[in-house]
Symmetry: C2
Subunit: 260 residues, 2 copies
């Protein structure tokens, strides 16, 4: 079972939480991949440099200056500090963007209504699972930040949840047993956002529709769950959504996304 | 023959020159490794952020804030843009720090007289040539920035010339035929710094001493040549010092450093 773990910005922003998370991740047995988000660091650096963060529908518009900042912060500062800490925990980490070894081909988003700038959508059909396999089979733990490329020399800013989902789908379609774990700041998908005890144990497609109709899941949780169901449909055995602090016991924690 | 190429900051600072250099590097046949310097970008970003660059004897003092900046600029911005451009030239590049795969173990510089901060000296005895071999044998072109780690979770700022030399020595000692090429802004080592036609074709150890005594080579060229002779002593077949623009024909360009 290949474990694909996504960790979000709220952990990245807290060195103590990140240290604990890295320890737990290092102790996961078997083949594994880490995908990390960006946290507030990029926004803060942009503000300090006088570069305004432009957001539409919760998504960052990536102009040329913003691309430089996210490349510095995600691919440099965050990614390589995580790699160094994983190595200190005897996890043979390799920090990656999608440009490295052409692991994640993408294309600049083509949207008639909004110019997203240097935002990349993964071209899943061009993903080569054997390249990721090659790393895993050699005891290497890939650590991806959310930067991809267009194979024409341009880096692109890409959603980290989507990268995690595409990696899981690609490996599942190639015949691997894969579990995908989205870790975040809540105990799981909650029926009551103010009650950490209201974790939904399991969501199937039918129940997901019901939760959306009743407005129990909404806003940022929708793309995460859409990604989850996409991966389930592609043959990923299970998708978990759980608290980062529960990573050491993720099988028993949080919300399971399953077909049945 | 494994070709190990170092490119300095003056090329990094000029997008057009860098593009040409990347094209020439991509066209070099056989196994190859690229090591790049940092250019002015890190200093400029530090200035913008109000972080003073402290230098002693031409070497940067790396406090915690400076380490963040060089990690962002070297390992993020520069390294990943080079990787993306190499991929666009069909060169299967992998951007690396010494922390990735623990490829370059280092230790924080221990100097009784000067606190260099987070500056790392490579621990050559702990380098594992088989890890670099593994990448080369699989058609991968490693692209190193000048960041290493102490294997205790800390990144360290390290001289790029030295990294190139240590990589060359490590692979030569493991029995590989290696050539090391330092590219920079001059046509080679010059007898008259104002005359690009005064390139010294070959420097042997005896001639090197003569050049130093006569003060024909001095300042920044001394550590570069010291690194070159260290690698020659370790079994590297040839070290070249030549202009970056001459990379496509480096065998016939610049200055050769040889034992005899």
């Amino acid at each position: 079972m290949i474990k694909i773990i996504k960790v979000g910005g709220n952990i990245i922003d807290h060195p103590d939480k990140l240290k604990k998370f890295i320890f737990d991740f290092s102790n996961l047995a078997g083949q594994k991949i880490l995908i990390h988000g960006g946290g507030k660091l990029a926004t803060e650096l942009g503000t300090t440099l006088g570069i305004e963060t432009k957001m539409i529908e919760g998504k960052r518009i990536t102009d040329a200056e913003t691309l430089k900042i996210v490349t510095m912060v995600y691919a440099g500062l965050i990614n390589k500090n995580i790699v160094a800490q994983l190595q200190a925990n005897q996890c043979n980490a390799l920090g990656l963007t999608g440009a490295d070894l052409n692991l994640i081909p993408a294309q600049k988003r083509n949207d008639k209504n909004i110019d997203w700038g240097f935002v990349g959508d993964v071209v899943a059909s061009e993903m080569k699972p054997q390249n990721i396999d090659f790393l895993l089979l050699n005891g290497i733990t890939p650590v991806f930040c959310a930067i991809t490329h267009d194979n024409q020399g341009n880096l692109l800013n890409t959603n980290a949840d989507t990268i995690a989902s595409v990696l899981a789908s690609t490996l599942a379609k190639a015949g691997h047993a894969v579990s995908l774990v989205y870790t975040f700041e809540k105990k799981g998908v909650l029926t009551n956002i103010n009650d950490e005890k209201s974790v939904i144990k399991k969501i199937t497609p039918g129940y997901y529709n019901e939760l959306k109709e009743k407005n129990i899941v909404h806003s940022g949780m929708i793309p995460k769950l859409d990604n989850a169901f996409k991966s389930i449909g592609d043959g990923v055995q299970e998708v978990k959504i759980c608290m980062a602090e529960d990573l050491h016991d993720f099988e028993n924690a949080g919300t399971s996304i399953k077909l049945h």
